[in-house]
Structure formats: C-alpha cells, structure tokens
C-alpha cells in the first residue's frame, strides 16, 4: 500500500507522471495547469525523473512535440488548459488520428472572451469530437490514479489512442487533498513498459501521416471510430485492476443513491461532490433523488448510462458549457439522444451552471432540481443569470 499525504492535486499529478517514468514532457504554461509542468520541470532538473523536458514556445508546438516523440516510441506527457487547448486543437485532432498514445492533463477552464481563468468545461467540449479518450475526475485521488490508468490504456496495443484527463481548474488543481501515493512496485505491477507497434527508426522504415484520397478517407475515419469504441473494455479492465491494487473502484458511470430514485441528476467532474451533498439533503427531506456521475465521456458508455437512468421519471443534466445556438448543451445532447428510444423514457432537463468559475453550492443544486421539475420546455436554462 502507498502512503497518504496532504498535497496539492497538481503536484500529486506531476508526481504520478514522474512515477510513470515518462520519456518526454512538452511544457507551456497556462493557468490553472501551470503547477503541473512546473513540478515536472523540478523533477527533471533534480534528476528524480529521467525525461527530456521540452519547454516549447507554444501549445501548438507542445502537441507537435508530443506527436514526434510518441512516434519515436517515447512515453509522452503534456498538460494545458482553455486557450492553450484552442491553440493546439489542430494537432489534438491529428494526434488521435495518427494513433499516438499521448497523455494530457487538461485543467478545465473557461474559454475567452471575456478572458476568464476559472473553471468550466467549455475547453474540453471544443475538442469533444477529436477522437481522444476523455475522462473526468471528481477529486484529487481520482486525478492521481487517472495518470497511471491513462498511460496504461493509451499504450495498450489494442487501443493506441491519446487520453485527456479532465481536471476542474482551481476547484481541483489548486486544492490540497489527502492523496494515497503509489509505490514504485505498484506502478511496476500496473503499468507495463511502452511497446509501440510502429516507431520512426531506420531499422524498420515506415511512413507516417500520409495523405488520404477520397477513396480512403471514409475508411480511415471508420477505423478510427471503431478504435475508440474498442477502447471501452480496456478502460474498464484498467479500472478493475486498479481496484485490485488500490481498493479504489472506478467505473465509466457511477450511481449514488439512485435506487428507487424518481429524479436523477447527471453531472461530470468536481461538481459531483457538490451534487452528492444536495442529494443527501433531499433524501433526508424524503425526496427520491439520486446522482449519476459520468466519468468516461469518450467513448460514451451508452449502455451504462441507459442502465443507470432506467426507472427515473426525470433526469436533470448539469452541463458546464454552452453550445451556442444549439438545442441543448453538449452532455444533454447525448443523454437525450441515448434515452429517446428507451421504453418509459424520462424527461430530460438541462441546466447549464458554473460557467467561468461561478460558484455552485448544494443549495443551488436543490434549486435547480426544483425548477427543472416544473419546466416542461425541454430546452436548456442557464442557472443564476443576474438580470
């Protein structure tokens, strides 16, 4: 068993990356992910981590460096946030299409303008369709564990895809939490060395990144889509074995007090802790309310979601991003389309909350549930807008 320490989540995440013996870290600062790359630079400078630390001149180059080093067969990590992700977006899409198992910690932050350094999910939703595995974390321990899990899944030859770990900016990155650290032996047991299928090396000549004529592009896209779906059992297996090792059980969808619930709140990330407090309170008041935490956002665990929401009359999806001019916010879109063909489908309500760092309390969540239940419009509402 590892030791438990009170430590800032960013620092713990960087320590986990160090324990994974990464070979290359590409780094460009942006709040609120800065502490992650700062601590990695310290680990490299002190010799605790034997990796090439590449202090690039932009996020676009950060992801490009990651593609190059991953293609060379090196275990590769980077971290960014909001505007940084926007700048690297072009290469984010290419990284998954070229099947590079890069791991990136995304400290979720609102997009400009107005400039905001605070948390919501608009950055990650921008690259929702980029073909990366995307997971969300609720607390520091989850972030820490996710690093080992992500490398293992990404580099699994059955997967070979990049993984994005979503960590709520400030709400998680900057808080000090008790975290149970892994020992080297645990990592050795859990994470095998990276053995890429193809690498750039003169001993075996390959061409990577060819261009695709119309005769081939559709097939390439189909193959990529299948690859992402096929990662699902590997992701689950990774979590199951992590449970054996640590006693902490993760799954793509997690239910909290959903037995017999008429109303279910569905959310992602650190807001789930807030929502669970609200659920506790409402249950005390005799209301049949439960919470579904969605941990795996891509590939979307469609069947798990159906199962988790079965029996509910009303579902309230808490989104943390706006999809301007759309029928509903991104997560709700998925939930509504998943549930549409279900027998006894629930009413799916959509509230967008916590944009750009706006605080959400358990009482707010209770209010949201109350207002959602009387709403029959089935569009979306943004919570707490002052007029």
């Amino acid at each position: 068993m590892g030791r438990k320490v009170g430590v800032e989540v960013s620092i713990a995440a960087a320590d986990a990356v160090g324990l994974c013996d990464v070979d290359v870290v590409a780094a460009y600062p942006i709040t609120p992910q800065t502490h992650v790359v700062e601590h990695l630079s310290e680990l490299c400078a002190s010799g605790e981590l034997d990796a090439e630390f590449v202090p690039v001149e932009s996020e676009h180059s950060a992801m490009s460096v990651c593609c190059g080093s991953s293609a060379a067969g090196a275990r590769t990590f980077t971290s960014t946030s909001a505007q940084g992700l926007a700048l690297m977006a072009e290469i984010v899409f290419i990284a998954s299409s070229m099947r590079f198992p890069i791991v990136m910690l995304l400290a979720n932050r609102a997009l400009s303008a107005p400039l905001s350094i605070w948390n919501d999910h608009s950055d990650t939703m921008m690259v929702r369709d980029s073909g990366w595995i995307q997971i969300f974390c609720e607390n520091g321990q989850e972030v820490y564990d996710a690093i080992f899990h992500s490398f293992r899944v990404a580099e699994d030859p059955r997967v070979s895809l990049p993984v994005m770990i979503n960590v709520d900016g400030f709400n998680l990155t900057h808080v000090i939490e008790p975290i149970e650290f892994w020992s080297k032996e645990m990592v050795g047991k859990y994470l095998p060395p990276f053995k890429p299928l193809y690498t750039l090396h003169p001993s075996k000549v390959v061409s990577m990144g060819a261009f695709g004529m119309p005769e081939i592009y559709t097939e390439a896209r189909k193959a990529q889509d299948e690859a992402l779906w096929k990662s699902y059992p590997v992701i689950k297996q990774g979590w199951d074995e992590l449970a054996e090792l640590t006693g902490r059980k993760y799954s793509p969808v997690e239910c909290y007090k959903t037995e017999g619930a008429d109303t279910i709140i569905l959310a992602m990330g650190s807001i789930c802790e807030t929502a669970s407090l609200a659920v506790d309170k409402m249950r005390e008041d005799g209301k049949k309310v439960g919470l579904v935490k969605l941990r795996l956002w891509r590939p979307l665990p469609v069947d798990d979601i159906k199962k988790a929401l079965r029996g509910a009359k009303d579902v309230l999806v808490l989104d943390r991003a706006v999809s301007f001019g759309a029928a509903n916010a991104p997560v709700t879109s998925e939930i509504r389309s998943i549930m549409y063909h279900e027998p006894d489908r629930p009413n799916v309500h959509n509230i967008i909350a916590g944009l750009g760092g706006r605080d959400v309390t358990p009482d707010h969540v209770i209010k949201m549930v109350e207002s959602a239940l009387v709403d029959t419009n089935y569009g979306y509402n943004i919570f707490g807008v002052r007029s």
Binding site: S69, M98, H201, P202, V205, M208, A210, G212, A220
Partner: protein, 316 residues
C-alpha cells in the same frame, strides 16, 4: 588525416550515394527542382535518418495512402509544425537512447518545409526549435510561393513576381510589392552553429553543405532555392538553368554561416543582369524597365553587403 578530410570536402562527388531514398514514381510535376533538392539532401545524409515534413508539394506528391515514395522513416503531421515534430522526435530518441531502449546509433533528424511552411506559418515553431538547440537539420525548400495550394504569395516570394494572390495591376504594378524575407539571416541571428543557402543546380555544393550540417552539434538551417516550373511559368526542362541564373545573377547567392563566420561559396566574376534571369519566366512578364532597374539596384546593394559580410574584396 587533415589532408584526406579536406579532400573529402573538396570532392564530395566521390562520396555520393548511389542509393535513392526518395523513389521515382512520385507525383511531382515534370522538371520540379524541389523534389530534386529533396533527393540530394537525402543522398547526402544516407539511410540513418528520420525526416519530419511539413504539408506542401513534397508531402502531397510522395504520400497518397497507401503509396509512399520514402525509403527513410518519414512523418508528416501538419503544415506549420515540422520543426516542432522534429524537436519531439529528437527529444524522444535522446531519452530512449539514454535509457537503452533503442540501439545507440547515430540518427540524423531532418525537418523539411516549403517557404510557406518555413518563413510564414512555421516561423514560430522553427524559431523555437533553433533556440532550444535541438540537433536537427532544418531544410527549407524554397520555390518562392505556396505551390501546393495553387501558387499563392508567401513572404519568400520576391518583389516583382506575380502569384495568384499577388497579381500585377494598377495598384500593384510589381505584383508582389514586398521584398523577400531574409530567412537565412534570421536563422543565423539565432546563433545556431550552421546556416547555408544551396540550390540543386549546384548539387555538389548542396550535398557538401548537408553533410556539414550532419556533422554539426546543434541545429542547422539550409535554405534551398527550388525552381518550380509550374509556378514560375517556365518550360519543365529549364529548372536547372534558372537555378544557375539565380545564383549567377546574385538573386540567390550561395553562402554559408558557420559558427558566426560568413563565407561566400560561389563568386561569379561579374553578376549576370537580372533581366537575363527574368527573361522567359512568366511570373515576371509584366515588369517594365523601371521596376527591373529598381530590382537590379537592390540586388547590387545586397550583393555588396554580402561580399562585405563574407570578407570578400569588392571591386571599386
């Protein structure tokens, strides 16, 4: 020992590889000197290399999936990031070699881009790569426009050339109304150990420079004028000739900057008039005498400055 080394440099043709690392059957236009430049670069380096390439003509003509023209490990990621991808390859290999996970073999990392992918959109990534000191040879194959997307101007298009986005007209009599960006000086100003110009019309010089860059510790930059018959509106059999004319008219002088020392590699007794170089090139067809004179004056003054930088005597 020193003697043989010297010989090697003076007569590099003896060391020329008979191997081809970019195969025939690629889809470049007839008479393309850009692909010729690429061929010579690869020959000069040999098989133990990895090439990161930017989007552009050379990528498109060589890699329609599932075909490939590359007999060396090759990667293309995007238009503006060849230098950053090469930085990643170099860093990855460095770590893996140190940890004993790949054979400890000397592998030359090369990044390559067109003038657009180098002097415009890829400028930042290139600057970052040079500043960080990655051991990468960066090769710019300069055909003086964005050819892959249909002959649009770049910051490397010379003053006076027409392209599809710098057409000549009443308000723009010269076509391109700005002067070619001096990318070589900018690269040299990064303080990297080796910078050079080259042209496949002088292929022994080109190969020699690439071989030099290969031996140097740290980043190097080679800027190759690559005549494009399609974009320059010339006959496909004229690429070599126009390359020679560009060099001998002082439009594109051959020189190198090694550890801060500038050196001229070819000094024509007398520069050929630029009008001779312009003749027959469709992209310069609209130029009148006064514009030609303006360009000639600029060439003369630049040539003088270059002779000065290279410590060559200038005739009064």
């Amino acid at each position: 020992m020193a003697e043989t080394e010297k010989k090697k440099v003076i007569k590099p043709i003896k060391n020329f590889s008979l191997e081809e690392y970019i195969s025939s059957g690629h889809r470049a236009c007839q008479g393309c000197a850009e692909v010729l430049a690429v061929r010579h670069v690869l020959k000069a380096i040999g098989p133990d290399m990895i090439l990161a390439m930017a989007t552009g003509c050379m990528e498109i003509i060589s890699s329609p999936y599932p075909l490939t023209s590359w007999n060396v490990p090759w990667i293309h990621v995007a238009f503006e990031n060849a230098a950053a991808v090469a930085s990643g390859v170099e860093s990855g290999l460095k770590a893996l070699r140190r940890k004993g996970r790949v054979p400890d073999k000397d592998i030359t990392i090369v990044a390559m881009g067109g003038d657009g992918g180098t002097t415009d959109i890829g400028f930042q990534a290139l600057s970052g790569m040079m500043e960080r000191g990655h051991k990468v040879i960066y090769v710019c194959v300069d055909n003086e426009a964005y050819m892959n997307t249909g002959i649009q101007r770049s910051s490397s298009t010379p003053f006076g050339a027409t392209t599809t986005t710098s057409p000549a007209g009443k308000n723009a009599p010269a076509g391109q109304m700005t002067w070619k960006k001096d990318m070589v000086a900018i690269a040299a100003a990064h303080g990297i150990p080796y910078t050079a110009t080259a042209c496949p019309s002088f292929f022994t010089d080109l190969q020699k420079k690439v071989q030099k860059a290969k031996e140097i510790q740290g980043p190097s930059y080679i800027h190759i004028l690559s005549v494009c018959p399609t974009g320059w509106r010339i006959q496909p059999n004229k690429a070599i000739e126009y390359g020679q004319l560009a060099v001998d008219s002082g439009v594109f002088p051959l020189y190198e900057v090694e550890q801060g020392i500038w050196k001229l590699n070819r000094k024509p007794k007398e520069l050929k008039p630029v009008s001779e170089y312009f003749k027959g090139q469709g992209r310069y067809r609209h130029l009148d005498e006064s514009l030609t004179t303006e360009i000639q004056e600029k060439i003369n003054s630049r040539w003088k400055k270059l002779l000065d930088q290279c410590g060559e005597k200038t005739e009064k």
